[in-house]
């Protein structure tokens, strides 16, 4: 399968990429890992006249810690995050990166491309929305930062202008006593999940001080399950409390029946994933090491 013919441009710097896109106009698009865009081009769902390749820009792939936050260059591949010891400081990030698609897709796909794509079934947005995440952008009039919750506008829609780039993703390291988990259920490795859940909890002894719960693939964007959060906050995390929260998450989910499962099946998945993610988050908040990534069928 061949995409429509297009002109290829290789940007040497982020600034050049932005100005190229501005000059080339509406018919131009950025190309990052290509793991969302190239399949769309091959199916001719997208037919840009120009592609501006970001892959040859030096210094856009990095993971570093600075002022209590982890910083990821936009072109950092999922696999680089999966294998990074530093990224494990926030276990949700490793959970997320290690479970996206398969080895080959993770070797190419980027965190910046994932956020820019805003696929409602994508993993990064859902995992990062429970954390304090800031998206760094660069446009023709300069740089700006946007909170992730304001960055994602709708399915496949972000706050980015046409010629604006994601340059960096900044994730604040949660405080001591905080633990998180990200779980997604997939039918096989190289497919998007049927449902996913991200949980971040802060404990004081046995009592849950703060909770963030997000659901993926069951709405047009990641859904914050606020009532589920309320069910946990201020309570000790007994099985009963956890079950109440999971039921509240079921009610918050708004899934569609499709090839990944019926709406009812996905609601059921949400209940199971939220329960399990809370249990892992609690153990991690207490300092336990728990391996837990996406689950395959």
């Amino acid at each position: 399968m061949y995409p429509r013919s297009f002109h290829y441009h290789r940007a040497g710097s982020l600034e050049e990429a932005v100005s190229m896109l501005g000059q080339l106009g509406e018919g131009a698009k950025f190309l990052a890992g290509g793991q969302s865009l190239i399949p769309l081009l091959k199916l001719r769902f997208a037919n840009p006249e120009h592609l501006v390749d970001l892959n040859f820009i030096p210094g856009t792939s990095f993971i570093k810690e600075d002022s209590g936050a982890l910083h990821f260059g936009a072109m950092t591949r999922h696999a680089e995050i999966e294998h990074s010891a530093l990224a494990r400081k926030i276990p949700v990030l490793h959970d997320c990166a290690a479970g996206i698609a398969d080895v080959q897709v993770r070797n190419r796909g980027t965190i910046g491309g994932s956020l820019a794509e805003a696929d409602p079934s994508g993993d990064w947005t859902n995992a990062l929305i429970t954390l304090d995440t800031i998206v760094h952008c660069l446009g023709p009039s300069g740089a700006r930062t946007i909170q992730l919750r304001d960055f994602i506008k709708d399915a496949y829609t972000t706050a980015l202008a046409h010629d604006e780039l994601v340059t960096e993703v900044e994730v604040k390291i949660p405080p001591q006593g905080s633990g998180g988990a990200y779980l997604a259920f997939k039918r096989s490795a190289p497919v998007y999940p049927s449902a996913s859940a991200a949980v971040q909890l802060t404990l004081a002894g046995d009592v849950c001080q703060d909770a963030a719960i997000a659901l993926g693939c069951v709405g047009l964007t990641a859904i914050r399950a606020t009532e589920a959060e309320t069910a946990l906050r201020g309570n000790s995390l007994s099985d009963k409390t956890i079950a109440t929260a999971a039921e509240a998450a079921r009610a918050a989910a708004d899934p569609q029946t499709d090839m990944r499962g019926s709406a009812e099946y996905k609601r059921q998945l949400v209940v199971a994933l939220v329960k399990r993610a809370i249990q892992i988050a609690v153990r991690r908040a207490r300092g336990e090491q728990v391996e837990g990534a996406h689950l395959y069928a």
Partner: protein, 166 residues
Amino acid sequence: MPETATVEKIAVKININVNGKLYARQVEPRMLLVEFLREACDLTGTHVGCDTTYCGACTVLMNGLAVKSCTMFAVQADGSEITTVEGLEKDGKLHPIQKAFGDSYGLQCGYCTPGLMLSTHQLLSGNPEPSEKEIRKAIAGNTCRCTGYMNIFKAIELAGRNMKGA
């Protein structure tokens, strides 16, 4: 197809090192890496199965990392080193991975095998003694319609042992 004049205007000159040999070619930007390998380099060992980034039959190594060559443009591999199944054999001797797939009956029709061997290559380069779980994760992006995978797991374990001993 665009007019020939347009194709020439948008064509890009690239240099890709495939299996240790430099291929300098003028290509249309939309040419996929797998088509470049099969048609411009005449290396037909890399297969196209699904053409939709699912099956992994088109897997090659780019600078040592497994990628699906149906989901990359050849222009993006400019300046890089690509290894295809044809590059595994050295001086007429099969690579330990190739030998192990044969010895363990890790293939039947063989359509998936080039891709599987290159995913195996990335795995074993960093980890010659993978657990079954690690093997499963490493080849989760490669579909085999024939074997049921059990002999493939055996082949990968055997290849790891042989490579470590070598």
